[in-house]
Amino acid sequence: MDRQNDEFEAFLKQFQLRTPGPLPKEGTAQSPRPRRRPLQWILAAAAVVAVVLLSSALVRMFEGTRGPYAKVEVAGTNSLYKTGQTIPVGEVVRSNDAEGVVLALEDGSHIEMRSQSALALESAADGIRVRLNNGSIIVSAAKQQTGHLYVQTKNVLVSVVGTVFFVNAESTGTSVAVVEGEVHVQDGASLKKLHPGEQTASDTSVPLRPVREAISWSRNALAYAALLPPPPSVAAQIQTGPGLVPFSQDPASLIRDGEKLAAAGRYHEAADLFQKALSLNRLSSIASFRLGEVRYQLGDFNNALQSFRDSLIGDLDPKWIEVWAHINIGKIYDIREQRDRAIPEYQRAISTGDDFHMAQGVAKGFLAAPFRQAQGVPSPSPPEPQPNANPDSPGKKIFYRACTTCHSAEPAAKTNFSTKAEYAALVNREINKGTEISTAEVPVLVDYLWENFGKVPRDIPVQRDAPIQRK
């Protein structure tokens, strides 16, 4: 294997495969290790989600009824259940098949179970209780007049008063959100009422995701998403009417709403919408550009720079984005007093010939005199030099010139690699990303990184001319 592949392999090993969780408890004799849930837990299959539509007719039907509570409406080919099979009270239903199971209640209500879910239907004093052991379910029910439908998890008891909600429980706790109507969440002694778009968690370690994401696994995800109200911050600005495209499915309206929020100075909310738009259309130059603008306003220059660059490799619609992205990139370099990098950006802006909103004059102005940042916009604080760094070392100069352009020195300080080769790979990777480091500068920079951030016993003098360690 050649050296480049060796280095690339070292680079790949910096990334770690996420740890699989233990087997679901129903099946395991012992649990291998505690489960770690990442932020994107909601897409993980073992979470428990329930959306419930309930009617009094449903509750009445179950009051005093000893008959079957549900029938299997849809079952996967490898399911334990067959279509039409009845599910009596107390029987645990497990949707171990990858396709999940849909249960039909006698009044036309449905419980959609995701794979790896388990529940049992029980009688409650004033209605029916769905005991959710694990997994994800969505329940759609008809309207009710009296009584309740409950969803019981190990953490909370959720009672349906109104129409649509979901419960999401995992090993660390349970979260509940409402799609439509009202639900009551009993968590120990506390009782919370939730309304559409609201959600709560039994534990702070349970991350909350937007409701649309939580229900995205459902067969009816789009329909449920359409039921959800838009975020309150923009609800007033979104026109409703027949044929309204679900909120999260229309990048153009997300961008328009984001622009309104940005104009109102609500940059964080605007950034969320632009990111959402980008998640729907990664090549949207205007979404990237607008995201860059709000990040710039928030003083987040690293990410703003990246967003402006992203806007240049998107669909370039509208065309003026090109000239203004270069100008804004130049401004950020000027703020960082990296004049040598700012000038080419202004030159690129001028070379486009686009004078939209007097871009040419602005670019020429900043080419003649550096852009000065307005008061009040925070600038990123420069990293503290390492104690053993020679203040005038050539390596340090290269490091601060080349490596802190797009990010702070912190990522480098955290590397703590145990071989110089890993630093060589790191530098190689940065060059591939476009960082301007000449061939002659590479060994100097690698030495600097290794001496200052590498995991090396400090009482052993480091040989500057030591050969790069091979794996």
């Binding site: 990334f15 291998p32 990442p38 996967g76 990858a98 995205s216 999260s248 998640s279 490799i313």
Partner: protein, 159 residues
């Protein structure tokens, strides 16, 4: 569950090479072991190669059954944990991985992130160790080139 403890990592890597989604990969893995524990299936030949075949089939089922799902958030389901500040690179790496031919991708995932030797990869995938090693070598070169091209196209145009 000795088998689970011993092989879950490699099996998860194998599933990730097919489904490109941690959640689905974990689902597939758990499905196989649940069926095993329930006694629905019996392993008659080599348990390791059986497990890899079963996880592969379960992963393909996951792809089929989840194809109708709508990714409302446009979220990418990470199966790699990235070092601090390299989350975007991690996502690009995942994406580049899934541009590789399946055979090469499998071996890279098992060898690097499943921490398996070429002999172990070969046994799991039912190929010879030499084939595993050469797929790894070719795959790694291709991945490096592809990753660098992506990086250049992403960052190069602003230069």
């Amino acid at each position: 569950m000795r088998l689970y403890q011993q092989h879950s990592r490699g099996l998860l890597a194998h599933a990730c090479s097919i489904v490109n989604s941690f959640a689905s990969a974990e689902d597939a893995l758990h499905q196989v072991f649940e069926r095993l524990l329930r006694g629905d299936i019996e392993i008659t030949d080599s348990p390791v190669s059986y497990l890899y075949r079963a996880v592969r089939n379960a992963s393909l089922n996951q792809i089929r059954s989840h194809s109708r799902e709508v990714d409302l958030a446009g979220m990418e389901d990470r199966w790699l944990d990235s070092p601090a500040g390299m989350e975007q690179t991690g996502l690009e790496l995942q994406s580049a991985m899934h541009g590789l031919p399946e055979g090469q991708r499998e071996v890279i995932l098992l060898h690097i992130w499943g921490q398996m030797s070429f002999e172990e990869c070969a046994a799991a995938l039912g190929i010879s160790p030499n084939t595993a090693a050469s797929r790894y070598r070719y795959g790694l070169s291709k991945l490096r080139e592809q990753f660098q091209t992506t990086a250049r196209s992403r960052y190069g145009s602003a230069k």
